[in-house]
């Protein structure tokens, strides 16, 4: 059984070779996947063109369902963007070095899910062509956006978060880009030359690099938390039952981390399998990720229960009615599926056997994310269906146009990610080297021995390598 996060005897040249190999020579499967993603995007593009020309009608939105899948999926993608930052920044600060082989693709995921999420508020606008009115800019009319509106906060929060995440990803990649530059020819060489910003790996550069990277990490953590809190303000600031909930900011952040971790598990397994990154994306790292996910899932479940209890024992009959409608109303199948996927299914992560079984984890992680997507839908839509005015109660199911655009968003994300893994190193070479170096020379033995001791493995005391040292 593999117990070490990484093989400390791995040769540095092999690391370079393995990672660079993954960026080369896309196989047939890659092109098929890319084509599939583009096809998905085309579905969405066609749907959007239709919706743009005709109006919002074809989306099936109605009075009183002014929002539906677009906003739910927007929140979903925003949520997914959170784990990249979590893994990267928080674990960086607390010096959990097992993040190193997997943070790169997680950060890329952050950026791309933000790029996907950002599309939805735009798509859902009735008059897309005027979307820039949300931004404050000087015009001769002397009018400004409404700074009291959470949607405007969203615009700021998301753009800030996207810029910072992109910078963080890029800065962390500079030493790797230099490695790529040194090994590349043709257009790749030109690209990496520009992008690596003259990285030579000298002391001064490393010193600055460390400092800025740490600063960015410190900056990103509160930013990430605030972004999803602000997104939750879209709902929490409103007066509607089921939206006007005090626990929404932490609830949204927990949900965000949750779906992000689940997505990391999915992509982890895919990359490990297709790029044969078995030596870097090891089972122990997987296990750690799973444990983290489980912890977050429990927090999320707890916050859910709090919300139900607060509503049930609260004084708001309207909110209570809505909760009952969620439990037994027309949305109930989706609601219970969400609770099952979000709160019951994660218990599979508690079992070591299952955690170490990649196909199981792959399927589980997909269902966790399905649960999280349903959660967002169940936040947005039932509230609109059963609000204060009973005359405006209605049930509405999204039309094909909405589904196509949601579907296409996955294609868009997939396409960006596919391009990323072939253009940029999806495992951080220099940091894996650091990790190996650290494990080899500093505390890996201690950690290992502690681990084994804790696990009750008496053999560790008689570890020959320890004696040899």
């Amino acid at each position: 059984m593999q117990t070490k996060d990484i093989n400390e005897n791995i040769a540095w040249a092999k690391i370079n070779e393995d990672v660079l190999r993954s960026m080369e020579n896309p196989r047939m499967g890659y092109w098929v996947a890319l084509a599939a993603c583009v096809a998905m995007i085309m579905c969405a593009v066609l749907a959007e063109i239709y919706q743009y020309q005709v109006g919002m009608g074809p989306s099936g939105l109605n009075w009183p369902h002014m929002w539906d899948l677009y906003i739910a999926t927007f929140v979903f993608w925003i949520g997914m963007s959170h784990s990249g930052t979590l893994l990267s920044a928080i674990l960086h600060i607390i010096q959990a070095d097992w993040r190193k082989p997997i943070y790169r693709f997680a950060e890329a995921m952050t950026l791309f899910s933000l790029m996907t999420a950002g599309l939805f508020p735009i798509i859902h606008l009735g008059r897309v062509w005027n979307m820039y009115w949300v931004l404050p800019y000087v015009s001769d009319r002397g009018i400004w956006p409404n700074f009291r509106s959470p949607l405007v906060w969203d615009a700021f929060a998301i753009t800030t978060y996207m810029t910072s995440s992109a910078l963080f990803l890029f800065i962390g990649m500079i030493p790797d880009l230099a490695i790529c530059r040194d090994n590349a020819r043709g257009w790749r060489q030109k690209l990496y030359t520009v992008l690596s910003l003259g990285w030579q790996g000298d002391d001064r550069q490393w010193r600055h690099f460390r400092r800025i990277y740490l600063m960015m990490a410190c900056f990103l953590i509160p930013l990430a938390v605030s972004v999803h809190s602000i997104v939750s303000a879209d709902f929490a600031m409103s007066i509607m039952p089921g939206w006007h909930v005090t626990t929404f900011p932490p609830y949204f952040v927990a949900g965000a981390l949750y779906s992000g971790c689940a997505a990391i598990i999915t992509l982890f397994i895919l990359l490990r399998y297709f790029f044969r990154f078995d030596e870097y994306m090891t089972i122990p790292i997987m296990e750690k990720t799973c444990k983290l996910t489980f912890a977050i899932a429990m927090v999320w479940t707890y916050l859910n229960l709090i919300e139900f209890a607060a509503t049930w024992y609260g004084h708001d009959p309207v909110a209570k009615e809505l909760l009952i409608q969620k439990f037994i109303g027309p949305h109930a199948p989706f609601f219970w599926t969400m609770l099952f996927c979000g709160s019951v299914l994660p218990f599979t992560l508690a079992f070591e056997k299952l955690r170490r079984h990649m196909p199981t984890m792959f399927v589980v992680s997909l269902f966790l994310n399905l649960g999280m997507w349903l959660e967002r839908w169940m936040i947005v839509t039932p509230t609109l269906s059963f609000s204060h005015q009973p005359f405006a109660w209605d049930i509405m199911w999204p039309s094909m146009v909405q589904w196509a655009i949601v579907f296409g968003s996955f294609g868009w994300f997939g396409m960006l990610f596919l391009i990323f893994v072939k253009v940029f190193p999806s495992v951080s070479m220099y940091e894996v080297k650091e990790m190996v170096f650290h494990r080899r020379h500093y505390h890996s033995d201690e950690l290992e021995s502690k681990f084994h001791r804790r696990a009750g493995d008496r053999q560790s005391d008689a570890d020959p390598s320890r004696e040899g040292a």
């Binding site: 009319r141 009959p317 309207v318 009615e321 204060h388 005015q389 009973p390 005359f391 405006a392 209605d394």
Partner: protein
């Protein structure tokens, strides 16, 4: 970057600067040229405008609404030569306020499906012709008709149109003028006439403290809804009156009742007798007002028997009697759903008996003030006219028939085979605004101008307190130059017939002016011709002196008539009329198609109302299609389930299911009138619209009901709270 760079098509405004054409008539200009491309809008210079015609500022002109027979006065807001909005005319009899039909009549005026030129049948199809050709045809076919072989088939007519029509019939030697209204109060009028000696006495809702209504939907379609709504407002304020509605299907009035009682269709008379029985048996009132024959009949209808026949619980009867006894004066009305039976006359008579018993005659039922000018009075429509016409047409009595303001081919039941009978008339002329079913069956179609494009006078059929002639004036220039007013066409026909009296008039306008000039000085109040005319046009009404009438009481037989069992057809069919579609004439107005029915909130389609118990028995839920089958045919529509319809009845609204009548009406819903059985009221000969028995079966299809609104109840939220009348009287009572 500029925010004002929004596409022109985003926001269309018709920045009309003036209208085309000389403003010679009051407010009559051609509409502003409307173009949508920026920079291509035209600004129009008037030739010589009236002083009041300021571009950008609306002017108000008075006219009369013709959307239903009541004929309310309206004010039309005119801007840049277009009439934009109608309001109630405060000077007119029905006063400020207008119902939704009146509001939407504007869409009739601007309807895209209006007939814009004469049409004649050539080789089976109607084809556009010129007016010259149309007149030529008239000369050939119509004028050649032998004495007495022509007839007019119209809706309610009044005023000088009626005068001209009579003159024309006289010239042609024909007495046959059928005045038909599908929604009428003819049975009630017959009873009023026989008992009180006055067909349309004044019902004083404002004076009554209890109103017991047997199916009279006076807020919706009965007689004069706007008038009664205003009275209702007074009835409900101060010492608030009680409204009790007895009917098999909840009408708008029923929806506002304090006590809504579902009686088995056709047993309204029995309920009335039962109430009288309770009143008399408990000696709450003495029966000396009633003849002995009536008392004998009443004594036979004890509470138990009435409950057995009508299904109205005994305690409800006692409760009704209690209200009637404790509060006076009261008023008992009967309407459509009580009248439309083989024993409809008896039902109405029983209701009238209650009025007599409670001493309402003279209190809340007053003699109407008879108008001085008999020839101008409205000719009330009824459905017997249609039955008579069908028989006469079938017998080949006519060579020429003129149709206007009525659509018998649509409203006649299938058993009458009206289309075939109309087809038997060699030459049918339709004077019509719209391509309705009757118009499309005609041989010659003459396009009429809308009520807001023409001069005219009319007199409301129901004039409770005052009498007045309502003025119509054009609110704008005709949309189509080819349309003519009915008055003009009648005048031309008279002139053609060589009637000397009419040769001096260029047009109907000239005729009207001279006629009004000729009114006696008492009416003109000392004003000379022009002054009087402009005052009349300005106010929209001419108040005329009245002769005070008087009422007698001569109660007839009040025995309620038999009740046939349904046999194979266990359910009663209620073809309910409501204010949206009325008798079907409003089906071409999109505003009213989209306006939800007041009770069920369903729009754009027909539906079948069923009681939950009946629905459960049949195994249908809301939105399922059911087949409603009578001995005359079947219709299919979706089910709406609620507790406002009798368990043994289904209600289908009248007015949809047109085969013609323009884009909005065509192919939209079903027409329940088509499957009515051939039953007539025994005494008055009126078509018994509510007497049909049907059976219901599932179709197996289901669809979401086109219905506005989600929850039918407030789910405990205080949106509409209800307080008791006692509280209301304590705090706000007079």
């Amino acid at each position: 970057m500029s925010g004002s760079d929004i596409n022109r098509r985003d926001f269309l405004k018709f920045m009309g600067l003036g209208g085309v054409g000389a403003a010679t008539l009051s407010g009559c200009d051609m509409p502003t040229t409307i173009t949508l491309e920026e920079g291509k809008e035209k600004v129009v210079a008037y030739l010589a405008p009236e002083e009041y015609a300021i571009p950008g500022i609306g002017v108000t002109f008075a006219s009369t609404c013709k959307q239903c027979p009541s004929g309310c006065g309206v004010h039309g807001r005119v801007r840049e030569g277009r009439v934009l909005k109608l309001e109630g005319n405060p000077d007119a009899l029905n006063g400020k306020g207008l119902c939704q039909m009146g509001q939407a009549s504007l869409q009739g005026h601007y309807n895209p499906d209006r007939i814009t030129q004469p049409m004649a049948r050539k080789g089976g199809a109607l084809e556009p012709v010129t007016w010259e050709e149309a007149w030529k045809l008239m000369k050939e076919k119509a004028s050649g008709a032998a004495q007495g072989r022509s007839a007019w088939f119209t809706g309610t007519v009044s005023g000088h149109q009626s005068v001209l029509l009579s003159a024309l019939n006289k010239a042609w030697g024909s007495k046959d003028h059928y005045v038909y209204e599908a929604i009428n109060n003819a049975v009630g009028e017959a009873v009023n006439k026989s008992v009180l000696g006055d067909a349309a006495p004044a019902y004083r809702l404002d004076k009554a403290k209890v109103v017991l209504s047997f199916g009279a939907d006076f807020l919706g379609t009965w007689v004069s809804p706007v008038h009664f709504s205003r009275e209702y407002s007074k009835f409900r304020t101060g010492d608030r009156g009680v409204l009790i509605q007895v009917e098999p299907k909840m009408t708008l009035t029923g929806g506002n009742a304090d006590l809504w009682v579902a009686a088995r269709p056709g047993t309204e008379g029995v309920v009335a007798l039962g109430v009288a029985n309770v009143l008399l048996s408990k000696n709450q009132v003495d029966g000396k007002q009633l003849p002995q024959a009536a008392l004998d009949v009443i004594s036979q209808y004890g509470v138990d028997k009435v409950t057995e026949i009508s299904g109205v619980p005994g305690d409800t009867l006692v409760r009704i009697a209690k209200y009637l006894n404790e509060r006076s004066p009261s008023l008992v009305l009967s309407g459509e759903s009580a009248h439309g039976h083989a024993n409809g006359y008896q039902n109405a008579m029983a209701a009238m008996m209650l009025n007599v018993l409670l001493g309402n005659v003279g209190e809340t039922i007053e003699a109407s003030n008879s108008m001085a000018f008999d020839e101008l009075k409205a000719k009330h429509g009824n459905s017997k006219a249609m039955l008579d016409f069908a028989a006469a047409a079938d017998a080949g009595k006519y060579d020429v028939v003129f149709f206007t303001g009525a659509n018998p081919v649509y409203t006649a039941p299938d058993h009458l085979a009206m289309a075939e009978k109309v087809a038997k008339v060699p030459f049918k002329v339709a004077l019509s605004m719209f391509p309705d079913e009757t118009t499309m069956a005609a041989d010659l179609v003459l396009p009429l101008s809308s009520p807001y494009e023409e001069w005219g006078t009319s007199v409301s059929p129901y004039q409770p307190t005052d009498a007045a002639i309502s003025m119509s004036q054009p609110l704008m220039k005709p949309l189509s130059a080819e349309t003519k007013s009915l008055g003009d066409i009648l005048l031309s026909m008279l002139k053609y017939q060589g009637i000397k009296d009419y040769e001096g008039f260029d047009d109907y306008y000239a005729y009207l002016r001279s006629e009004l000039d000729g009114l006696p000085g008492s009416v003109k109040a000392g004003k000379d011709g022009d002054e009087f005319w402009s005052a009349a046009v300005q106010r929209g009404v001419i108040k005329v002196p009245t002769k005070a009438g008087s009422l007698k009481v001569n109660l007839g037989d009040v025995s309620p008539g038999g009740h046939q069992s349904g046999g194979d057809y266990p359910m009663h069919l209620i073809p309910s009329s409501n204010q949206t579609m009325y008798d079907g004439r409003n089906a071409n107005l999109p505003w009213l198609q989209e306006a939800p029915d007041q009770i069920t909130k369903i729009f754009w389609d027909s539906w079948v109302e069923m009681h939950p118990k009946a629905a459960a028995k049949l195994g249908v839920k809301e939105g399922d299609f059911v087949r409603v089958e009578s001995d005359q045919g079947a219709v299919e529509a979706q089910v709406y389930i609620y507790k406002g319809v009798h368990v043994n009845a289904v209600a289908i609204p009248v007015g949809r299911g047109h085969e013609e009548y323009g884009r909005y009406a065509k192919g939209n819903g079903v027409n329940p009138l088509k499957i009515l059985s051939s039953i007539v009221d025994g005494k008055s000969g009126e078509l018994a619209t509510h007497a049909t028995r049907v059976r219901i079966s599932k179709v197996g299809r289901s669809e979401e009901l086109p219905r506005l609104g989600g929850s039918e109840v407030q789910v405990g939220r205080r949106l509409v709270n209800t307080v008791s009348a006692d509280v209301f009287k304590r705090t706000e009572g007079a």
